[in-house]
């Protein structure tokens, strides 16, 4: 099947300058052009439209036990009130997996990564991911806080044992990469600690956060995981955290490391210890470290809920819960903290958080390394992405927001002085090519030959919010899935994961540990075959 996308203005910086050109797809994959004399079976005329690869989200809480616990905590946040479209059950069911897939697709997003795949509850995450229609999915396996790992570290079992432990959980949970959350912090919280810094020790294990992060950087390299270690650092939302980030960057010693939702760490301190923007300090550390990638975690106004496995942070954040109810679950390793919040335009701290996020985007020297997220739903819903793109591409739009800021917030940030506007090319890198590169998904994020034909087509509207909210056309694997901003029906993508090599001795060892700890066989934690697509690590030949 040959498909022609005709006459669009193609923004694909990986494969050359922006230009009006035709794109050809054969059986769902981009090709250079048709055979001589070959006529396309299908033609989409996109003359005058902007054409980009489908967008990719590296960090969005879309599935898993804690997301569903949030659904149970906050029925009032998502009351359904519209009938479903014909043939699309649950598409208007607010905050359902079905609505999530539809809304992402209608914005032109075609791959989304859930960043908190908990090994002992991996199956629920995969069940929910499988129920998110249209888009492709993946998830990052959470490691580094469980008793088995910390015991290996305490007992100095060595680099290979730690690698094998991580590989086991990555394989068993079907993750696409690994993530660590406030390394050691949740384990310390179980033992009664209420704060946890880079060089604090986890009680009973004698391991520091720094040692855990370093061990996981080694494990990621030794396994050959394409995605850098995905780090939820210490001291989230603590003024002064930019110093923690600088220390952690130094600890990485040049190895690839991804910092999640960096906005929540970009809080400096003024002379009185009050909160000011720390964006410039973060950017100074970031600019000089080409091994470092980050996603922003932009704050946008409105009611939302924070979902995090960082029990230390969520315990301290409970006093801000709005409405005044929250969940804290002590899990088998991390667990989950769920605290509803309302970011308000009249609250100077929230205003400052918004401005700091904007500063990070606009001061970043490299769109390949500073990626767009809201840490959905923690900073705001992913449905605010079009508005964020608008604010980044249009300084007049931004000026209106900055001028509305209370004086108290405006004096604590440099946002008002920044004139920069993102270009389409920078936007395409930040939301397509950059995320694909950092995730190791080389077959997407661009439109060169061999890429999957995940394509988003937009009207070139001055109102960028409207433009990016409703894609004119979205192709998933070459098939139209959205037209005129509306999903066309339910199709199901795949959940991408790695299949790293595992060590049989470690598999036996962990099996017996799990039986002792849980009283069930390790198969109780397994994820059966589901719509999924095994991808390669750099060290494994099999998939």
């Amino acid at each position: 099947m040959l498909t022609l996308l005709k006459g669009g203005r193609v923004v694909d910086p990986v494969n050359g300058a922006t230009a009006v050109r035709d794109l050809y797809i054969r059986d769902g994959v981009m090709i250079a052009g048709p055979a001589e004399g070959e006529m396309p079976d299908e033609v989409h005329d996109v003359t005058g439209k902007i054409v980009m690869a489908g967008a990719i989200d590296v960090h969005s809480h879309i599935a898993g036990g804690n997301v569903t616990l949030s659904r149970l905590l906050l029925p009032e946040l998502h009351v359904s009130e519209d009938p479903a479209a014909e043939g699309m059950p649950f598409d208007t069911a607010r905050w359902s997996t079905y609505e999530t897939g539809r809304l992402y697709a209608e914005m032109g997003f075609t791959t989304v990564i859930e960043p908190a795949l908990v090994p002992t509850n991996a199956l629920q995450t995969h069940l929910e991911l499988a129920d998110i229609p249209i888009i492709d999915r993946g998830a990052l396996t959470v490691v580094g806080n469980d008793d088995h790992f910390l015991s290996l570290l305490r007992d100095r079992q060595g680099r290979d044992a730690l690698r094998d432990h991580v590989a086991y959980h990555l394989a068993a949970s079907r993750g696409l990469g690994i993530k660590v959350i406030n390394a050691g912090g949740p384990a310390a919280f179980h033992s009664g600690l209420r704060a946890f810094d880079l060089d604090d020790e986890v009680p009973h294990y004698g391991a520091t956060s720094r040692q855990i992060v370093t061990a996981l950087l080694d494990a990621a390299a030794d396994i050959g995981i394409p995605h850098p270690l995905h780090l939820h650092a210490n001291n989230l939302a603590v003024p002064g955290a930019p110093a923690t980030i600088a220390d952690t960057i130094a600890a990485a010693e040049g190895r690839p490391l991804h910092f999640a939702h960096i906005q929540f760490y970009a809080y400096g301190k003024d002379a009185d210890g009050g909160m000011v923007s720390g964006a410039e300090e973060i950017i100074r550390s970031f600019a000089d470290a080409p091994n470092i990638t980050m996603d922003v975690g932009q704050v946008m106004y409105g009611p939302t809920v924070t979902i995090s496995l960082d029990l230390v942070k969520q315990w301290s954040g409970r006093t801000f819960a709005s409405p005044g109810k929250w969940i804290l679950q002590d899990g088998d390793a991390e667990g989950g903290g769920i605290v509803p919040l309302a970011y308000k335009k009249k609250n100077w701290v929230n205003e400052l958080q918004w401005a700091i996020g904007m500063e990070l985007f606009l001061l970043s020297p490299d769109p390949w390394r500073m990626l767009l997220t809201t840490d959905h739903p923690n900073g705001g819903s992913f449905t605010t992405y079009p508005k964020i793109m608008h604010l980044l591409m249009d300084r007049e739009e931004r000026r209106a927001w900055v001028e509305a800021m209370p004086e108290e917030a405006r004096n604590k940030t440099a946002i008002a002085a920044i004139e920069r506007e993102y270009t389409f090319e920078e936007l395409a890198i930040m939301t397509r090519a950059g995320p694909a590169k950092v995730l190791g998904l080389s077959d997407r994020g661009h439109l060169g030959p061999g890429a999957v034909a995940d394509i988003a087509v937009y009207d070139d509207l001055p109102d960028r919010t409207a433009m990016f909210t409703s894609a004119r056309l979205v192709l998933k694997g070459g098939r139209p899935v959205v037209r005129d901003g509306k999903a066309l029906g339910w199709t199901f993508g795949t959940t991408h994961h790695l299949s790293p090599e595992t060590d049989p001795a470690m598999t036996r060892r962990i099996g017996s540990y799990l039986e002792g700890r849980f009283g069930v066989s390790p198969t109780a934690f397994s994820v059966p075959d589901a719509p999924s697509s095994a991808r390669r690590t750099s060290r494994s030949s099999h998939v």
Partner: protein
Amino acid sequence: MSADTNQEMAGLDAATSRAVGLLAKARLPLIAGLGTDVEGVRAALRLAHRTGAAVDHVGAAHIAGELRMVADAGSMTTTLAEARNRGDLIVVCGEGARRWIEETAPFASSETPYDWRGERTLLCLGCTAPTSVAAVAASEEIAGDPVDLLRELKAAIGGRPSSVVHETAVAKLREARFGVFVTDPRDFDHLGLELAQALVKDLNETTRFTSISVPAPAHGRGANLVSAWTTGGRLRVGFGRGFPEQDDWRFSAERLVADGEADLLIWVGALVPDLPDYAASLPTIALVPPGAQATADVVIEVGVPGIHHDAVLTDAVRDAFTFVEASDIATWPSVATVLDGIAAALDAGRENA
């Protein structure tokens, strides 16, 4: 396909046709029981969307007590493994919790990966001490209504006046390093459960406390979780307006039947074979395990998930989703197959009309 299987398939087709005939006449179908695996719950929700049905699960206390408490006030909970391994004080709140601990023996092992835990202390509110707990250093029983006792303990912990002061119990609560409350939602209403959670939260101001609850029957936690991610909300849910609406009172199976609102029952009984008494008062399609003696207008025998076919269920040990391989593969159709078959036949009927 064997001759037996062919015969079963023909029987299933005939039963499906009769079920479709009943569904076509129904104004408000009710899908209840819902004792089935993840695929079965998914199919039930699809059929409910297709027919405007209401959906309820047999685990009423889990829904109207435990999950209502979560939505009203939030909670502090842990996993059974953490409770067993880390908990140094087990607070048994009431007779249901005691009975569950006795019957399923979750604390029967003294071993733990956390070698610093030491022995356990038991505090039993309104019940006797369960005998199945290992490594018990000390045990205290306080007679009375568990709700009253929780209220009195909460007053004492918060430094507020109370007519009764349980000095040794309060001391035990204060000394614990990782205390675990155990409740059976069937013993409390949602306010009683909220009270227990409020005490747990207060105790966390100075030490670590958390809770577990007796698992809901018939895959109840799993059914509610599937509903939450599929419809946005837990059970009970109705689709009469073309989109899901969560409402514990409106979509209660018992109420819908008692008030004459529901006019057809689809009893999903793969894990709850006994039909409820209210089934006698309206036309009923019963999906029950092989050999169950069900009296209904249409009876369809279905496989038991995890026994006759592979299934994903919340398991009884962890109360979390687990893939269970069939132990005795058989040809009875799954709940999902039957319900999807009914939906397909409805669609075919509409196309032919």
